[in-house]
Symmetry: C2
Subunit: 133 residues, 2 copies
Amino acid sequence: MEILKQNQLKITPQRLAVMKYLDENRTHPTADRIYTDLKEKNPSLSKTTVYNSLDTLQNHNIIQSITISPSELRYDFKKSMHHHFLCKRCGDIIDIELECPNIKKTIDQGHKVEEVHGYFKGICKKCMEKQEK
Amino acid sequence: MEILKQNQLKITPQRLAVMKYLDENRTHPTADRIYTDLKEKNPSLSKTTVYNSLDTLQNHNIIQSITISPSELRYDFKKSMHHHFLCKRCGDIIDIELECPNIKKTIDQGHKVEEVHGYFKGICKKCMEKQEK
DNA sequence: TGTTAAATTGTAATGAGTATAAATTGGAAA
DNA sequence: TTTCCAATTTATACTCATTACAATTTAACA
């Protein structure tokens, strides 16, 4: 964990807590969810600090933000390229592992591609099965 | 224009104005931009009406909302499947025409896919050329 | 250990979008 | 055409995620 911090960033308990949380909760949580959960063990935690930490980590490409649902950002450890599936019923976000062969087309048009986001929306497997019962 | 309205929706000048605006401005505008621009010719227009109209049109699959930039929705006429490119420099959103061969994979995992959104972010061609000068 | 720039905190502000209730209006029926 | 009512518009107030700011604290280097 602290190894990751050797990216010219100060090692603070707050940042470690945020990283630990994201590592243990692969649910693409919102900033507020992170704040609320961490607040329990660390009552002096400020919401601004969570936002600051997330911003900093994102700027150093350690985590990424996901703009899949309107009005709130979701956060995620940066992993190999993958897409996301948002269930309209339960709100869960599921990782979809696949590579996108279409990036080349965009580059060919003269744009410089820095980020690729693929979002699917619908009803997830779990909810579909629940419905059938 | 009015032909589209034969979707069980009342024909109001406000809705027509919003549709006309989206038809003439293929720039994926925000609700606020639409409101501000339409307000000039129609001072009695309410911001709520713009949101209502956009919601209604979206529910009838005439337009779609794009969740590409955090904290604001962008609106677009519903066309054939295409992806979007957001320029981090000028903020423009550009349509990328392509088909995504990866949807099948998600369906195969048992999820029901209702919407597909592909977002690329980077620097657009125009800004890249400006930079080189 | 002392110093300082960087980070944290708490509070206040911003701004997109929503809720609500009263006033208006489209459009079908008389 | 006129009447009528449900749908729509309007204005205002509100919510809530995120940001701004200023004062306090702290990590990490000498």
